[in-house]
């Protein structure tokens, strides 16, 4: 909670004090000192839950019964969670703050209270209530309020009476506010108010009244759109910056940047700011937003002319037009420029580089939020003004709740207000507090918030969170990120269970089974695009396992290892398939056999000699050449091999010296390769021309063998002998480094005439 909210609303109506009501109040000085504990995030994480929910009867509490009182809650309460207690107090008109100050009326004490709060309470002499006393206080004071209301109805509701004339005289509410809360008015709030110019207040209220007929069909968000810069809530400095920047444009040249980017959450007045600033400086505005096509050509069409031109355009337009009219371009929702708007962003960048008119770009999401949401205080005055013009009674604390619920989205608040006006026909007779209840309890106005995966997994696995959610809410959680949540669940279930005592011995087994079934649905979704199965997937892959393993939180939730492992598996398979392809000419197995049968042997024959005898490097390289294995394949071997225990890895046992000699020796010589990648730039179309010199490079023997081979259909035995003779000289020759690699990459005319480069694998056999 921001510190400014600690201020106490001291609109104290005449009320009986807690002592008068007979509530058991504890003197803070009688409390024992609590030792300051070291901060433990994990311990805090599970806190705030009711230890024994439902054990106490929680009174409904009359609205306003705690009006003007400020509470601080510390420790774990027994029958009610801290959040619920806070809501209860707020509903009754009280305030809840996070730290004890001189203005705090009561400290609500639970189990295991915080040391700083206790000591602060002692310092300020704050009264202390325990949980029972709090409930007692609410019950008794609402009873007292009810009595008072019954006896003196006209006086008990002074506010609606006082507010009614407010609608007619707009200065009244503000004056009254100030009068009512002279001592506690926050300085910042005063400032905001004082910044509201009298002109704006005097002038604008006339609009809705005089144009009442028109106003009915008008959206409130448009109706109360700020009409001057001054009316914009918050972000004064940002607006000032834009203004300075825009002022710096002289004669189509900025002295700073060519464009400005405004970013921030929706509904906080980015577009409005841009328009107003441009208007106030006398610019014509051309706005392009997501409803326009903004691909490369259309941006070029619409902006090139504009940005390339200066005042001459207006010069030609018409005689009567003022010659000094300037134009500004507002590119709204630039982050929505993707997908269909191909090339739009690039074009925009090009335009910005050359522009002669100011360009203002607006987006929601940028890495850092430059345009901050206005605080509740800043919004409040604006909402108050609107409310009183529309004859709605709104209390400051209701507004605060609205701001909180909508995350300071002014546009949404106004929409909500307008809806609620039509919802209840007669606004005047609805007590203010109904709004508060209406807004905070009915979920409809709650802004959809996307949770991070770690929040969601917490909501699933934490016992009390899981229990407190309705079924559809649990399903909804999954949709925060439906591709990641099943993985998160899989990664977290077992970790979560360790240390928890599950009700069922076999709960983790059921969870594992559910997760596996979920995968089957996932496959069905992706294979046949049956996205309507997503809810079922949600239930089986997330809600089900969570049901089985839910419990107290312990330990961190981990990011799914599957993603990393999966890409590692893919990489391994790539390496394996390379290994297999390289040796394919001499082996006869598929990838699995290569891994399962060959690899263990390869691993041993190509590593062991290097450990035992450093002089065997030559032999190892020769074996590798026989299989056309590259140096990378040698690394692949040890990477794909699973040593039975740590330290049994043969590669690490090879001394560094031998290893580097091995690499040196390998790199010095050229080696046969079984094929050349078609993507290699060696020869895409020059295969034929290269073939001639390459044939020269190969010993003449090769040609004769080829001729013999192709004509050898009638004399197989002879060919066998010639083959054997081919093998033997090769072995002898292999001791010498190959003269050139190109001898093995003889170009061959391909059968289908595609002319791709290819290596003649057998070519090198005869090179001598």
């Amino acid at each position: 909670m921001p510190p400014k909210r600690k201020a106490k609303d001291s609109t104290d109506p005449p009320r009986k004090s807690a002592e008068e009501l007979g509530v058991n109040v504890i003197d803070p000085n009688s409390l024992p000192d609590v030792e300051k504990k070291s901060f433990n995030f994990m311990a805090i994480k599970g806190k705030g839950e009711a230890a024994n929910p439902g054990s106490k009867e929680i009174p409904e509490g009359k609205p306003d019964c705690l009006l003007g009182l400020t509470f601080v809650i510390t420790g774990e309460l027994e029958g009610i969670s801290r959040g619920e207690a806070g809501d209860l107090i707020k509903r009754c008109g009280g305030r809840v703050t996070s730290a004890v100050s001189g203005k705090t009326s009561f400290l609500v004490l639970g189990e295991d209270p915080g040391s700083s709060k206790i000591s602060a309470a002692k310092k300020h002499g704050t009264k202390v209530l325990n949980e029972d006393a709090l409930i007692d206080l609410i019950r008794k004071s609402s009873a007292a309020l009810g009595d008072a209301a019954a006896i003196e109805t006209p006086d008990a509701k002074p506010e609606p009476v006082a507010k009614r004339p407010r609608a007619k005289s707009p200065e009244a509410p503000i004056k009254r506010e100030v009068k009512e809360t002279p001592s506690t008015e926050m300085p910042s709030r005063k400032k905001i108010k004082s910044e509201l110019p009298p002109k704006a207040i005097e002038k604008s209220p006339q609009t809705p009244i005089s144009k009442e007929a028109a106003a009915i069909s008008e959206l409130w968000t448009d109706k109360y759109k700020p009409k001057s810069i001054k009316e914009i809530c918050g972000n004064k400095s940002g607006i000032e910056k834009i203004k300075i920047w825009l002022e710096s444009w002289i004669n189509g040249r900025p002295n700073d940047k060519n464009a400005v980017l405004i970013s921030g959450p929706p509904g906080i007045g980015k577009t409005t700011t841009a328009h107003l600033v441009a208007k106030s400086l006398g610019y014509d505005v051309l706005e392009l937003n997501a409803s326009d096509t903004r691909n490369k050509s259309s941006i070029e069409r619409s902006l090139r002319d504009l940005t390339g031109n200066t005042s001459i355009a207006s010069f030609l337009k018409s005689e009567s037009a003022p010659l000094n009219k300037k134009t500004a371009v507002i590119m709204d929702e630039v982050d929505g420029m993707s997908g269909g708007d191909r090339g739009g962003t690039m074009e925009l960048i090009q335009v910005i580089k050359k522009t002669k008119v100011p360009i203002i770009c607006i987006c929601n999401d940028r890495l850092s939020t430059k345009v901050r949401s206005p605080s509740a205080l800043q919004v409040r005055s604006r909402i108050m003004t609107i409310a009183c013009r529309e004859n709605i009674d709104l209390k400051p604390n209701v507004i605060e709740q609205l701001v909180e619920a909508t995350q300071a989205d002014i546009r949404q608040i106004i929409t909500l207000l307008s809806v609620s006006k039509y919802y209840k026909n007669n606004v005047d007779c609805i007590p203010n507090t109904k709004y508060a209840l209406y807004f905070s309890s009915s979920g409809f106005n709650k802004k959809e918030i996307t949770h991070g995966p770690f929040d969601v997994i917490g909501k699933y696995l934490n016992m009390s969170n899981f229990n407190s959610q309705k079924f559809y809410e649990k399903v909804d959680l999954y949709f925060n990120d439906f591709s990641l949540m099943p993985l998160m669940m899989q990664a977290s279930t077992n970790i979560h269970l360790i240390g928890n005592i599950p009700k069922d011995q076999l709960s983790y087994i059921k969870a594992a089974d559910d997760i596996a079934s979920g995968d089957l649905i996932d496959k069905a979704i992706h294979r046949s695009q049956q996205w309507s199965l997503l809810p079922s997937h949600a239930v089986i892959s997330c809600v089900g396992p969570a049901y089985h393993v839910r419990g107290r939180h312990n330990g961190m939730y981990t990011f799914p290892a599957w993603l990393g492992k999966n890409s590692k598996t893919a990489k391994s398979f790539r390496m394996l398939s390379e290994l297999q392809m390289h040796s394919r000419l001499f082996t006869s197995c598929d990838k699995n056999e290569m891994r399962q049968s060959y690899l263990p042997t390869f691993y041993k024959t190509l590593h062991k000699p290097l450990i035992d005898d450093p002089d065997s490097i030559g032999d190892v390289i020769r074996t590798m050449d026989d299989y056309c294995l590259s140096r990378e394949d040698w690394d692949t071997l040890s990477e794909l091999y699973i040593p039975p225990n740590k330290g049994a890895d043969l590669k690490s046992q090879i001394s560094t010296k031998v290893k580097s000699t091995f690499t040196q020796m390998y790199n010095k010589a050229s080696h046969p390769i079984s094929y050349i990648k078609s993507s290699a730039p060696v020869k895409a179309d020059s295969g034929a021309s290269q073939a001639v010199p390459d044939f020269d490079g190969i010993a003449a023997e090769d040609d004769s063998v080829e001729a013999e081979d192709s004509s050898g259909k009638d004399g197989e035995e002879d060919d066998d002998i010639s083959k054997d003779s081919m093998i033997k000289p090769k072995k002898a020759a292999a001791k010498k480094p190959r003269t050139s690699k190109s001898s093995s990459t003889r170009g061959r005319g391909s059968k289908n005439g595609t002319g791709r480069g290819r290596g003649g694998g057998r070519g090198k056999k005869t090179a001598s």
Partner: protein, 356 residues
């Protein structure tokens, strides 16, 4: 110095030391002038590919052995470029469409048709047709297999297809009915012993005790390739062979790792243990050990080690999860669920025993 397994691979049908009857059949077929489409199937290490090569050699002569590797590029309908390596001689092309996963249909359609539509140009060729060898045919997608059906009939003048796979279970009926099925069974233990002692040992001039050869034959699960490789790795480790070397015959690395998992699950059944096992399974998967292999080895190990009473249940549950593994996507989920299921069955059994 190639490995023994490649050095002493028979190159002609006459050199085959076992399944003589199959060899003579193939020889007759290839000399008859015409050749049907062939479908070779049998466990790995039985000698399917060796026999295919030998048959091709029988048909086309030694020119078949002049092979080269090409990399071909294809464009999928979604404009993705995929590469596939083909091995070819002037008479035949070998492809492994499973390399490109779900795009194998494109490869089948383009490459095979392309080859099928052209006639054999070489005047030296003895036959009018070319041969396309499709490896790992059981991992062909259904689409690809259907794409193959018509091609096999239409271009029968220019083209013969030889399919090679481990089991016919995943080959669709229409394709099977167009082929002559040739089953290559795994060699018997005696066949392997003969191969090891008679061929390899003789040519390499070493002595291999019969007991050792028998032991290797059994440990390799009657996989000839693996047996020869195992013999060589034990030769690298220790030579001359001693009688008591049986125990030191190294199991492949991945089998050791799988057995480790199986033992962990037998030791303790708890979430912690399952977490530990998950790590090990991830390790195996990321070292290119297929999930099916892991599941199979786990199942056999467990069935061997549990009480008789549980054996049927074990088999049923292994079959269930093997099936789910096939239709699912993320192997780890199913393997973990299988291990968890085993744990639950086993734990219940242990509790029952202790309560008696």
């Amino acid at each position: 110095m190639s490995l023994w397994v490649d050095k002493y691979r028979p190159t002609s049908l006459d050199q085959m030391t076992y399944h003589k009857d199959i060899s003579s059949h193939l020889k007759n077929l290839s000399n008859s002038g015409d050749l049907p489409h062939l479908l070779f199937y049998g466990p790995s290490g039985a000698g399917k590919k060796t026999r295919i090569t030998a048959t091709l050699r029988e048909i086309f002569g030694p020119g078949v052995e002049k092979i080269k590797i090409d990399q071909r590029q294809f464009q999928t309908p979604s404009n993705r470029k995929i590469d596939i390596n083909t091995i070819s001689s002037s008479y035949h092309i070998e492809i492994n469409p499973s390399d490109v996963g779900i795009y194998d249909r494109v490869v089948i359609q383009d490459l095979i048709k392309e080859a099928a539509q052209t006639q054999q140009l070489s005047s030296k060729a003895t036959r009018k047709f070319k041969v396309i060898v499709i490896h790992e045919a059981d991992s062909l997608s259904k689409d690809a297999q259907h794409a193959l059906r018509r091609t096999m009939e239409k271009y029968v003048n220019n083209l013969r297809v030889i399919l090679c796979c481990n089991s016919t279970g995943k080959i669709i009926g229409p394709v099977q009915s167009r082929c002559l099925l040739v089953r290559i069974p795994a060699p018997s233990v005696q066949d392997i012993v003969d191969g090891l002692c008679g061929v390899v040992a003789k040519k390499e001039k070493i002595t291999v005790p019969t007991e050792l050869a028998t032991h290797i034959a059994v440990t390799s699960k009657r996989n000839m390739r693996r047996a020869v490789l195992m013999l060589e790795s034990s030769y690298v480790q220790q030579y001359p062979f001693t009688a008591d070397q049986n125990s030191s015959i190294p199991l492949p690395d991945w089998e050791i790792a799988i057995i480790k998992i199986a033992k962990l699950a037998l030791e303790d059944q708890s979430p912690q243990q399952l977490l530990k096992i998950r790590g090990l399974i991830y390790e195996l998967l990321s070292h290119c050990i297929p999930a099916q292999t892991i599941l199979k080895h786990l199942a056999f190990y467990w069935i061997k080690s549990v009480d008789n009473e549980l054996k049927t249940e074990m088999a049923v549950c292994a079959a269930t999860y093997e099936h789910r593994l096939q239709i699912g996507q993320k192997a780890i989920f199913h393997l973990e669920a299988y291990v968890a299921k085993f744990m639950s069955i086993y734990k219940r059994f242990l509790l029952d025993i202790s309560s008696i």
